[in-house]
């Protein structure tokens, strides 16, 4: 599901999504995404409320049904927060109306996965709780326009506590400050409208982010530059209203050096291209308003076409 997001997202940033995808594919892919939705099981409502949302693939072998309104509870086939986020993003990019999404079931799942300290587990039964899933939970709640699955105060406190002595966020409290975690924390605060309450020191955070620029950006002090951190940190700066302080020329030349003759971007000039780094490279160029690329919403990390479609669905504009 996430691989699909990087592909569809890249095409959207390139302005090619509509022309590259036939009407038949568009419809069938939307169906495929819905076939990954885990729904309440009327015969086991109690257990199934922890597991609803979207899963990454149909690996568990249940029969393909894009029109289902319930699924049989299976403890080995649960939805996850990151896949629910990318599934919804993919549906928006493909122009779906979200009418088959069970919003209430997803909000309930989120509510059960939020921990005492405000963080989220990615899926039922996992102890892998950290800031990544707080971000995904916020994007999901924004798209569904239902925040009942997020205790905003606790989530804000968690993000605040995850800022280390460097004033940037780690994966969780006490963790080393990290570009990816910082993106997640800042974007989640932006979506919750809690930037003011959630940041320990905004100026110092901006300085930390800018200090990560070598030509491209590194994810932590004294690490190598990497295409994906150009976006994670660039996106954080954009959400902090400080992207204009980035050195565009250097950043652009680094990104160009990570493009390969086969097309696509790698993580640095020596690496082969992959879909994640290609999306991240395009997304960063989009932040710099590269001609020919469309914009993207850095709080949601979704290309603008998907966000505009969401606005239309919600009756704005």
């Amino acid at each position: 599901m996430t691989l699909a997001f990087f592909c569809l997202g890249s095409l959207s940033l390139l302005g090619q999504l509509d022309s590259a995808v036939s009407e038949k594919d568009r419809k069938e892919w939307i169906d495929w995404i819905y076939a990954q939705q885990v729904l309440p099981d009327p015969e086991d409502l109690d257990k199934s409320r922890y597991t609803c949302g979207f899963k990454g693939s149909s690996w568990a072998g249940h029969s393909y049904d894009p029109q289902a309104t319930s699924t049989k509870y299976d403890p080995n086939d649960t939805a996850s927060i990151p896949n629910t986020y990318t599934a919804l993003a993919n549906l928006l990019l493909l122009g779906d109306d979200l009418s088959r999404v069970n919003t209430k079931a997803i909000a309930t799942m989120l509510k059960h996965l939020q921990q005492e300290d405000g963080s989220y587990a990615p899926t039922y039964g996992s102890s892998e709780t950290d800031i990544r899933f707080v971000f995904c939970a916020c994007v999901i709640s924004h798209i569904l326009d239902d925040w009942s699955g997020v205790d905003i105060d606790r989530a804000t406190a968690f993000i605040r506590n995850s800022q280390s002595y460097e004033n940037a966020m780690g994966q969780s409290p006490e963790g080393e400050a990290h570009g990816g975690s910082t993106f997640c924390g800042v974007a989640a605060l932006t979506l919750m409208g809690k930037l003011k309450e959630g940041l320990v020191d905004r100026d110092e955070l901006i300085k930390w982010c800018l200090a990560r620029q070598i030509s491209g950006f590194q994810g932590r002090p004294n690490k190598k530059e990497d295409t994906c951190y150009c976006f994670w940190i660039g996106g954080a700066l954009q959400n902090l209203g400080a992207f204009h302080l980035v050195n565009d020329a250097n950043l652009r030349s680094f990104l160009m050096s990570t493009q390969t003759i086969r097309g696509g971007f790698g993580k640095d000039s020596e690496s082969p291209p992959d879909v994640l780094h290609s999306y991240m490279g395009l997304a960063t160029l989009s932040l710099m308003k590269e001609p020919g690329l469309t914009e993207l919403d850095t709080a949601l990390n979704i290309p603008i076409a998907g966000v505009n479609h969401l606005r239309k669905l919600r009756g704005h504009q």
């Binding site: 069938e28 892998e128 800018l210 004294n222 050195n247």
Partner: protein, 306 residues
């Protein structure tokens, strides 16, 4: 590890494999290897009936070896450890081998934590983590897991010297710096008195003198001061000393600016011109990649009202 195909293995004769049903036009058709597809077909079948057996344990090991990122397989394996009353030390042996190749994978570390928590004994963990850090001194999972182990089994005593060993090898290892902060300030019985603060401040100053361009040690120094409510102004003699030695590190100049800013705010007067000059020098000479930032910083300083 099992390489025979399951279909020809008499031990699996009774199982009817279940293929993946992905519709006619999946969005992400993945080109699984035949070996992986077949193993997964058998896994689906046994998971469906919740079979907990030795052969399923071996099957999960086979799948994990091909795809260690498959969360559900790990979760199923954890339920097998309980059901089969496995010797958890054997499971740690299994992870020891696996981690040699795949120490960047999230799931391995979480699985390790689950097993060690069940075992209630962390005596093998420090050696295990040391090995991962030797291979990759900034492995985020290894350092996070180390924090958990140190806390859970009260293993604080040797940590400071471990940090110093790491910084001797690489003074720029930011993960080691972060761990130092954790060890000093998060130990539940830590007494943060003046002598501790003094020790940390002096330590970071020594490290800065060795490598004045190392952002990690500067961040640490400023972090310690903030944590202990000490003013940055106490750094003035140290900064002067560095300047006398002709050190031109952007971190030094940026900290000087911070001092001027504090002084102006405290004394409610406009910023010393020297600070504005430093911004210009950073922008043009010492840190030109951030010239826009230093221009912005300059305008911030000029805006301090009198």
């Amino acid at each position: 590890m099992q390489t025979d195909s399951y279909a020809n293995n008499p031990e699996w004769e009774d199982v009817q494999p279940i293929p993946q049903d992905d519709g006619e036009n999946p969005l992400v058709p993945i080109a699984y290897s035949r070996e992986y597809s077949e193993a997964m077909d058998y896994f689906r079948a046994v998971a469906r009936v919740n079979e907990k057996s030795q052969r399923v344990l071996e099957l999960t090991a086979h799948i994990i070896d091909m795809n260690p990122a498959h969360y559900t397989i790990w979760q199923y394996r954890q339920s097998l450890l309980d059901a089969l009353k496995m010797d958890l030390n054997t499971e740690l042996d299994f992870i020891d081998v696996l981690a040699e190749e795949k120490s960047k994978n999230y799931q391995i570390w979480h699985h390790r934590q689950v097993v060690v928590e069940k075992l209630g004994n962390g005596s093998r963990e420090i050696a295990f983590i040391n090995k991962a850090i030797e291979d990759d001194s900034k492995n985020y999972h290894a350092w996070s897991y180390r924090q958990w182990v140190v806390q859970a089994f009260n293993l604080w005593d040797n940590e400071l010297s471990y940090v110093e060993d790491n910084l001797r090898i690489d003074i720029r290892n930011n993960s080691a710096w972060n761990h130092r902060y954790f060890v000093v300030f998060s130990r539940p019985d830590a007494k943060i008195d003046d002598s501790t603060v003094q020790r940390e401040v002096e330590f970071s100053k020594r490290m800065i003198k060795i490598a004045p361009n190392n952002g990690s040690s500067w961040n640490y120094l400023l972090g310690v001061l903030r944590k202990c409510g000490q003013s940055v102004e106490t750094l003035e003699p140290f900064l002067d000393e560095l300047s006398k030695d002709n050190i031109q590190s952007p971190h030094l100049l940026s900290t000087k600016i911070l001092l001027y800013e504090h002084a102006a705010q405290k004394q409610e007067r406009s910023i010393n011109d020297e600070a504005l000059k430093l911004c210009d020098e950073l922008a043009s000479k010492y840190d030109p990649i951030r010239s826009k930032y230093w221009g912005y910083r300059k305008s911030q300083l000029q805006a301090i009202s009198i």
